[in-house]
């Protein structure tokens, strides 16, 4: 049974999360503040952490940083801060996902599943499948609806990066750093151009993409349709 630590100072939020998660087969721990949260992570070693940004003692971002000093366990941020700046800051600091309050339970469960999966690294030899898309990572073959698609090296590099983190948001910075290099982290228009090209090749309707989703102001996410 996967174990989740909920870090939130609001008792109502903790309660409805506990009810929702327990009915879906999670074992739940609760923590009302940052210091207690760090302690509980060390003691209970949960599989996942759901972390609020506004805590009475520490800033959520600070808790995240302290956790990231010694553990890679998946952390999902749950916050009322809706601005893209906050999202990017949290993701860049090592959060696995970011959900804005209010949110639906279904959405949270989906994100939890994605985060859990990423706890295990993806093998290079695997074949990735999502909807009409199929990518053979070892042979570098991309097919859409069983038709082979020819990608440029840049397009393929982008797609491979998204596949490695499928289901998870990658910030503009993270993508640019991984694919182009650290000196290109501000050239967001590269992304606009290449994702438009990539979508033309792999999406059924490039104007309404279903595989590669834009997270406004934050980054991109490859939808995992199993």
């Amino acid at each position: 049974m996967p174990e989740v630590l909920i870090v939130d100072d609001e008792i109502q939020i903790r309660r409805f999360l506990r009810i929702g998660l327990e009915t879906n087969g999670y074992k739940v721990y609760e923590s009302p503040n940052g210091h207690d949260a760090i302690l509980k992570v060390a003691q209970r070693k949960p599989d996942l952490v759901i972390l609020d940004m506004e805590l009475p003692d520490l800033d959520g971002l600070e808790v995240l940083r302290r956790l990231r000093e010694w553990t890679r366990l998946p952390v999902i941020i749950l916050s009322v801060r809706a601005s893209d700046v906050d999202k990017v800051a949290a993701l860049d600091a090592g959060a696995d996902d970011y959900l804005t309050k209010p949110f639906s339970m279904d959405e949270l469960l989906a994100r939890l599943r994605v985060a859990q999966r990423h706890a295990q690294p993806l093998a290079e030899t695997q074949i990735f499948k999502s909807g009409p898309l199929q990518v053979d990572l070892s042979r570098r073959i991309v097919t859409v609806n069983d038709q082979t698609v020819k990608l440029t090296p840049t397009e393929y590099a982008l797609l491979r990066l998204l596949i490695q983190h499928h289901g998870k948001v990658l910030t503009h910075k993270q993508i640019l750093r991984e694919v182009w290099g650290p000196e290109y982290v501000n050239e967001t228009h590269y992304l606009r151009v290449y994702f438009a090209q990539l979508r033309q090749k792999i999406e059924d309707d490039p104007a309404l993409p279903r595989l590669i989703v834009t997270e406004a102001g934050v980054g991109y996410r490859l939808i995992d349709e199993g």
């Binding site: 809706a82 893209d84 209010p102 440029t152 090296p153 840049t154 393929y156 590099a157 694919v179 182009w180 290109y184 050239e187 967001t188 228009h189 590269y190 606009r192 151009v193 290449y194 994702f195 438009a196 490039p206 104007a207 309404l208 993409p209 989703v213 834009t214 406004a216 102001g217």
Partner: protein, 893 residues
């Protein structure tokens, strides 16, 4: 009965004086006829008495002159240490004003009121220090001798032959709340002197034979007694005015004294002051500026006179005019002057003839009912200095170059005349020379013209009139010609020169009015404070050729950073001067008596009831401004202060208007929101309270209701948050190159829940350029439009989203085939909280308003249209300028 009613003005003045003194410190002057009468001693005794009464007394500055009994009295009193001021390598000891202000006692003793401070100390004179102490609410005891009073220095010099340099304005006596005369008979004083109680033995001998002669002392004693008596008189009158006792009320006399840049004028000022004081009449000092450029010495002299006048309590009027007599009388009539004081002319009758008649005669003839006093100059002055105020009139206009030029012209004309002599007779020669003189008068000046006239007359006589090569003239006709020539040359030279002077005067006046007019016009045209200040700095800099800085106040304090357009750098030292000016509402800095070591001069910007800022100015020539420049500068500064005040008032009015507007919005908001908030909350509470009791099917229904109501609430809150973010003005666009197609895709994705049942047509023109916009904000715009299209149309209405490229812009169009908006309402739908009448509930009237603000923040435009096919179409145009830098392909990793 009227005769017994006190004059309201004087009553008010007396009461105001009383009120001003409530929070000001009290000044007591211990006053004596000469050194050694025991002023300091008496002051110390008084201090001990006060101390015994529990008053907090400190000694600010005290000179015991090593007199044993005085020194003995000093024990038991707290003495503030003096500050050491370095001046040219030596250290001078001065009173530490700031230390006293910091110590803040009830009463401070400051000896030697007339002392002049060392350079580098804040004020030039000690009495200014004392004023500052009084302003701070500290009582002051001080000492002074009669010879230091401005108005008595003449008399002291006449009696004792000693010129007193350390003087204090007589008005100090009026400022004093109490005066104690320390009187001692001359014999007793001489006895004290011989006993060594005043000076050290070696100095006793000389002192006794010079200053301390019985005759001198008697005269000084009388002076001191008279000064005290005069003051007592005044106090009595003040008292009678307040207590409504009928008595000798303020006279209706008004005195005016005309001064020039002559040392003699100081005497005139003092005379007038004494006279005015005795008559209890107000008095003014007038200087009429003519076009002649004064020498630096006379400028400085004038400035000194005007300062003296101000210190003595006179009002100073400086005005320009070519005709001194007319200008004087003009000012006199304007100010209801009854008595006019002028100096006896020291010019010869010849000079007076040149300047168009004696000023005194003209004044007396034209003055009408104004009495004219003609005061003689000082013997000493008139003998030693007549040249300083007669010759310059001739010399200072024109340099030696001009004279040289005039003589050269005459010599050349004479040579030409000599050459053509065989052809023309000597009368024509005379005419050509006369013509030359006229030209010199017009183009060079009066002095050179007079010299040219003399030389040409003589040379004409010598070279051309028979018998030639002699100064003799043989015929009566030629004699007449010669003298006529001389007279015409001088007269016409004089007249033309005067014309030229008037013309120059007119031009100068015009320049001055022009400068002022420009300032007024430019500042009037300035739309905001920043523009006003920029204009003011620019104009001041241009007109005075100076570096300028303007500092405004912020929350009752002078703002440290000057206006960025200022040309005068303000470091911490200069700022300290500006801050002093701000706190004391008085000018300070260079060329003033306060903090004169500063680099620039600082003036307070005085609005009707407060100081709104400080102007710092430093002319590039770095010289004292001339009187007229000073007057012009004052006018400028007043004007600037007025405009700044106007702007401040405007800003306040604007803020008030904004407040009213925001209150109106607040009310609208409350009305609109309370309904929108309560409806979903009511639904949620109702459904939640029924959840436990209901059967499973209704429970499902109820939980659905809770969810949809909560979402409705959420949308409203988001809109409100967006709106407040926009209204706060803190919105910062994070522009980056964006793909409009992608943006629309994201917006549609976000509204998927409500759009999925709709017929949606999406047309993105291929090859749309990237646009530099804030992705998140612009996506919000499209979401709002789509949301509206969904909410306000029936489920079967189709929605179309189009994006295409226009000329230098990208056009996004969101259309629906719903009921449409009435044409009259099309423009209003973007207003805050405006909702088209008859629309279904559920909206806030904010969506389109937010969209409009966001689009406009991007420099774009938004409008609502009714397409020919019906329904509604919202059209956004965004500027598409420039292209992003080229993208870089990755070499396969």
């Amino acid at each position: 009965m009227d005769d017994f009613r006190p004059d309201p003005d004087s009553l008010l003045a007396a009461i105001q004086k009383d009120e001003a003194r409530q929070h000001r410190g009290k000044l007591k002057i211990f006053f004596g006829m000469a050194a050694g009468v025991g002023k300091t001693y008496t002051m110390l005794q008084a201090a001990h008495e006060r101390k015994a009464d529990g008053v907090d007394v400190v000694v600010g500055y005290l000179e015991t002159h090593k007199r044993a009994d005085t020194e003995a009295l000093l024990t038991g009193l707290e003495v503030i240490p003096r500050q050491k001021v370095e001046y040219r390598g030596t250290f001078l000891e001065e009173m530490d004003l700031d230390a006293i202000l910091k110590r803040d006692p009830d009463l401070v003793l400051v000896d030697e009121l007339a002392h002049t401070n060392a350079p580098g100390v804040r004020h030039t004179k000690r009495y200014q220090d004392i004023f500052e102490l009084l302003e701070a609410g500290i009582d002051v005891y001080t000492t002074v001798n009669v010879q230091h009073f401005e108005s008595r220095t003449d008399a002291v010099r006449q009696i004792t032959g000693i010129t007193v340099h350390e003087t204090i304005p007589d008005s100090l006596l009026d400022q004093a709340d109490e005066i104690e005369l320390i009187d001692l008979s001359p014999e007793d004083l001489r006895k004290r002197l011989s006993e060594g109680k005043v000076y050290t033995p070696e100095r006793v001998e000389t002192a006794a034979n010079n200053f301390f002669r019985v005759g001198n002392l008697t005269a000084l004693r009388e002076m001191a007694l008279r000064l005290t008596a005069e003051r007592v008189d005044h106090q009595l009158q003040d008292y009678m005015a307040v207590k409504q006792i009928a008595g000798p009320w303020k006279s209706t006399e008004r005195l005016m004294v005309a001064i020039s840049a002559s040392p003699f004028s100081e005497r005139l000022i003092r005379w007038t002051r004494r006279m005015a004081y005795n008559l209890e009449a107000p008095w003014l000092v007038v200087y009429i500026e003519t076009s002649s450029a004064p020498s630096p010495e006379s400028k400085a002299m004038l400035a000194r006179h005007l300062k003296t006048a101000q210190e003595l309590g006179g009002e100073v009027v400086v005005t320009a005019g070519a005709d001194i007599c007319r200008s004087l009388l003009h000012v006199a009539r304007q100010r209801n002057v009854t008595q006019l004081v002028i100096g006896k002319p020291l010019r010869s009758s010849f000079q007076e003839f040149l300047s168009g008649g004696s000023l005194v005669n003209k004044l007396i003839r034209q003055s009408g009912d104004i009495d004219v006093y003609v005061i003689t100059g000082d013997e000493e002055d008139s003998e030693s200095r007549p040249r300083t105020f007669t010759l310059p009139q001739l010399v200072t206009h024109s340099g030696w170059n001009d004279y040289f030029l005039a003589i050269t012209i005459i010599v050349l004309v004479t040579i030409v005349n000599l050459l053509v002599q065989p052809l023309i007779d000597y009368q024509a020669t005379g005419l050509t020379e006369l013509f030359a003189v006229l030209l010199i008068a017009i183009y060079i000046g009066r002095g050179p013209a007079l010299v040219a006239a003399t030389i040409s007359a003589l040379s004409w006589n010598y070279l051309f009139i028979e018998p030639q090569l002699t100064f003799q003239i043989s015929t009566l006709q030629d004699t007449l010609l010669f003298f006529l020539y001389f007279a015409i040359a001088i007269l016409s030279g004089n007249v033309t020169a005067r014309l030229r002077m008037q013309e120059r005067q007119a031009r100068y006046n015009a320049d001055r009015s022009m400068a002022l007019y420009t300032l007024t016009r430019e500042t009037a045209a300035a739309v905001n404070m920043d523009a006003v200040l920029r204009t003011a700095i620019e104009q001041l800099g241009r007109v005075f050729d100076a570096e300028v800085a303007i500092l405004l106040c912020e929350q009752e304090e002078l703002c440290r950073s000057p206006h960025p357009n200022g040309t005068l750098p303000i470091d911490d030292k200069e700022f300290a001067v500006a801050a002093w000016v701000y706190n004391n509402s008085k000018p300070a800095g260079r060329f003033t008596n306060t903090l004169s070591l500063a680099r620039a001069q600082y003036f307070p910007l005085l609005a009707s009831n407060e100081v709104v800022g400080v102007i710092g100015i430093r002319t590039r020539v770095n010289e004292r401004l001339s009187i007229d420049e000073q007057v012009l500068l004052d006018t400028f500064i007043n004007q600037i202060a007025l405009v700044i005040e106007r702007e401040l008032i405007d800003e306040q009015t604007e803020q008030a208007a904004m407040l009213t507007e925001s209150e109106r919005l607040y009310t609208t908001l409350l009305n609109s929101i309370s309904h929108e908030l309560r409806t979903p909350i009511a639904a949620i509470i109702g459904a939640a309270s029924n959840l436990q009791t209901s059967d499973p099917t209704s429970r499902e229904q109820l939980s659905d209701d809770i969810q949809s109501s909560a979402q409705r609430l959420n949308r409203l809150v988001e809109n409100l948050l967006d709106m407040s973010r926009l209204d706060s003005g803190r919105l910062q666009l994070k522009r980056e190159w964006c793909d409009i197609g992608e943006l629309i895709g994201v917006a549609i994705q976000r509204l998927h829940p409500c759009l999925k049942h709709r017929q949606l047509k999406l047309t993105i023109a291929p090859g749309l350029p990237l646009v530099e916009i804030d992705f998140v904000l612009m996506e919000q715009v499209v979401v709002n439009l789509l949301d509206n299209a969904c909410s306000y149309t029936p489920p079967d209405a189709a929605i179309t989203v189009q994006a295409e490229q226009g000329r230098g812009e990208v056009v996004i169009r969101v259309s629906d085939t719903g009921p449409g908006i009435p044409t009259a309402e099309l423009a209003r739908v973007f207003e805050k909280f405006y909702r088209v009448p008859g629309t279904i509930p559920g909206g806030t009237g904010l969506g389109l308003s937010i969209a409009k603000s966001l689009v406009e923040a991007h420099g774009g435009a938004i409008r609502a249209e009714t397409p020919r096919t019906g329904g509604t179409s919202i059209v956004i145009t965004l500027p598409a300028i420039g292209t992003p830098p080229p993208v870089k392909e990755v070499i396969d990793a």
